[in-house]
């Protein structure tokens, strides 16, 4: 009865909260990301040609038939650029999720180990030190070394980029854990007999992941840049994979002689996508509290009334 009563009381308020949902702000924040993901998902529908097949004469200038011209093998540059978004998004999402998840776990472990003793402390200290060293190595050099050791494949590329980008979530999470670990509720949980592992997963991680989660779009953007950089210097994907960096690199020689379309279009797409992702990564944290507030209002009220 009480619940029914509460619902009846809250329904108009919830409706009011949803009315105040910041649609404009949310759309503006997410739009660039959504567009990039849409282009990637709908690539087979958008691209008029197979991106890995010779479809016409080589190096045709942009025209009504081939909007972005053709490349040195006669492949349609527009189709390749569109499919290039698919590769960038595939890597971007995978790397962002993996790097953030690993970063949160490792950062939490390091943070909690700093007040421990014994093996956990030593291991945490060692991980922190290794992370410091890796941070000191330029991203692209580290990625080249990893791909050089493992050989060119999607997996090695993924590991290389995750390794270069996981350091930020590790550091961000560690900082949060150092703050959270002094909270009274954690002490209470320990006094209540909760194991350290359970306390870490139930209390520490949920309260420490904020900065790392907000960092995810940045990882996405950095991944696109590193992927393109590796492709540009010929490390990573194999020909004729439509990867933007590789496309820029393979058309560079022609650029010098005025055949600009092979290089400029993928370069513009790298630029726009990184710009869009960077915009989203800055806009989302600003909009997020309002979105969260809009969605959380009913439950908070419910809790308060209960």
């Amino acid at each position: 009865m009480a619940e029914t009563h509460v619902s009846a009381v809250l329904l108009p308020r919830a409706r009011a909260a949803r009315t105040h949902f910041p649609w404009g702000g949310a759309a503006a924040a997410f739009l660039p990301l959504i567009v990039i993901v849409l282009v990637a998902v709908l690539a087979p529908l958008i691209a008029p040609h197979d991106p890995e097949k010779t479809v016409a004469d080589t190096r045709l200038a942009p025209s009504g038939e081939f909007w972005f011209g053709t490349d040195s093998v006669g492949m349609d540059v527009f189709s390749r650029v569109v499919f290039g978004a698919r590769i960038a998004v595939r890597f971007g999402i995978t790397v962002a999720v993996c790097a953030t998840a690993i970063g949160i776990l490792v950062g939490t472990f390091i943070g909690l180990s700093e007040r421990s003793r014994g093996i956990q402390s030593a291991l945490g200290g060692a991980l922190n030190r290794v992370s410091d060293y890796i941070v000191a190595i330029p991203d692209i050099i580290l990625a080249i070394v990893v791909v050089g050791i493992m050989g060119a494949s999607d997996l090695s590329l993924l590991i290389a980029i995750v390794l270069t980008l996981v350091q930020a979530p590790i550091k961000l999470t560690r900082m949060e854990v150092l703050r959270v670990r002094n909270e009274a509720y954690l002490e209470a949980a320990e006094l209540g007999g909760e194991s350290r592992a359970r306390a870490a997963f139930v209390h520490v991680i949920p309260n420490s992941i904020g900065p790392a989660m907000r960092n995810m779009p940045l990882i996405f953007g950095n991944c696109v840049i590193i992927l393109a950089s590796l492709g540009f210097i010929g490390v990573g994907v194999n020909a004729p994979t439509p990867e933007w960096g590789y496309m820029i690199s393979s058309g560079l020689s022609d650029l010098m002689l005025g055949e600009w379309w092979e290089t400029v279009f993928p370069a513009v797409f790298v630029f726009l996508s990184v710009l869009g992702i960077a915009y989203s990564s800055r806009a989302i944290p600003r909009v997020w509290p309002r979105i969260a507030a809009a969605f959380s209002t009913p439950s908070k009220k419910r809790k308060n009334l209960a």
Binding site: A28, E52, K53, T54, D57, T58, R59, S72, V73, G74, M75, A152, G234, N238, A239, P240, S250, L252, S253, D254, L255, M256, L257, G258, E259, W260, V264, A267, V268, F271, L272, L275, Y279, R282, A283, R286
Partner: protein, 551 residues
Amino acid sequence: MRNRRAPRLLTAAAAAAALVLAATGCTDRAADSSSSASAKSSITVAIAAMPTSYDLEGNWAASNENYTMWSQTMVGLLRYKYVEKNGVLVQDFNQYQGVLADYDKPFTKTKTADGLDYTFHLRKGVVSQAGNPFTAKDVYYSFQRKLSVDGGRLPQIKAYFNSIDQVQIVDDHTVTFHLHGVGNDDIFPQMLTGQMGRIWDSTEMKKHATDTDQWSEEWAATHDGAGFGPYEVASKTADQQVVLKANPHYPLGEPKINKITMQVVADSGTRAQMLSSGDVQVAEALAPSDQEAISKKSGVQIPTVEHPIEFVDLALVQNKAPFDDKLVRQAFMYSVPYSQLIKQVYRGLAITSPGWLTPSMGVPGTSTKPAYTYNIGKAKHLLEEAGKPSVDVTLTVSNAIPDIVDSAVMIKSYAAKAGFNVTVKQLNAADFATGRANATFQSLLAANRSQTQTPSYINNFFMPNDPSNNGAFVPTAEWKKLNADAIAAGPMTSKEAAPYWEKVNAFVIDDASQLPILYRQPNQAYSTSLQGMSYRYDNTVDYSVLTPAGK
């Protein structure tokens, strides 16, 4: 407030794109380079990389720049005779001119009971780059060194000698080589014209010998000055340039171009653009598309020859599946878009391949009919016959050569229609060389050339008695018999031997393991302010025959 940044950033993006477009537009100018380089006796050349070795005998490293440096600083007893065709000095691979030997009659050949004697008449009054007089002792020293150090193609010269005693100094200016057991397939003079036939100044070389380095390999790797070539190194700037100056003592006369600044410009398109705008007078190692792009510009000339010898080599390794089946190999050969490669990737700067036997080898009546043509119907039929309607193939290439990568990508695209699912695997040059040496590839595409243009030399590409070779073709008893019959039929350029060599060529074509799929034109471009474009066995520019236009 902050949302106002987005339009600003987009404006900046558009401006950046416009700048790039404007910059590329600027490159489209066809500068008249003739004024900048006219009647010059010093030129600037754009090369792709710095040379890494000045001694290709003791310190072998295959690269266009090493070949170039080796050819400018060192010479041998002989060179192939130059013949001018369509404004290009091409070499007749069956006629010789003396360089350190007498120009018109460099050697005499005498049959002996067990072989041949070659007697060379050396030039008198020749001095080395170091100023030491040239004598028969230099020839003796050079051959002793060739038999003692390892590198490059020395094994092919070593095969002629059991000991240095076969080299006899008759007098200061006469040397005789006593060769045993040689037949119609003798290519000793060709060997002496080539990269492994260079003669050292023994006096200078001995100065740099040490107890642990009897043949001065360490010194020679990084220095010149102990040879008789048309040029010597005046200065080097690491990773940037090497400057050559003409050797006034060069036996064939001091070169007309007395100073060459070889400037490293890594990108082919930039090298081409620099030639087009008159910043350099020769651009080496150009991609065909770059050559084509500047070919119509004023002040630019591109050498083309009737019978190029540089080829794109397709190897389908017959001891690795799926190419252990001859029908699959033949099907793949029918799936290669030969005409499209020549037209699209090589921009017309290549010709079809008749196989290994080419007209430049001098065998009478050599066919120029393409060994294979693109025929998807035939390819499908062969795959069906082999019981493999769909075949996965990994085609490995070096990413150092863009036209080879493009060729592989185009083959992938076209071969799919026959049922070949080709994966193009790109490796850096070092990994590619290692994989090739270790015979790990299933198939590969590479740039190659036969520096000795004789039919019997083809055998060297197949590394006999090595069934794991990555040269793809494992010589069989039938192949060996065909070769033996051809050699026994008469001199290689005789009418009697010609049909036998055609059979040898037909056998390798039918085997479909390793074939030149096209022969590409020289990869240089010159300013019209120069004349004397050349094409020789190693595809290096002969700067000693280059002259300012009109002189």
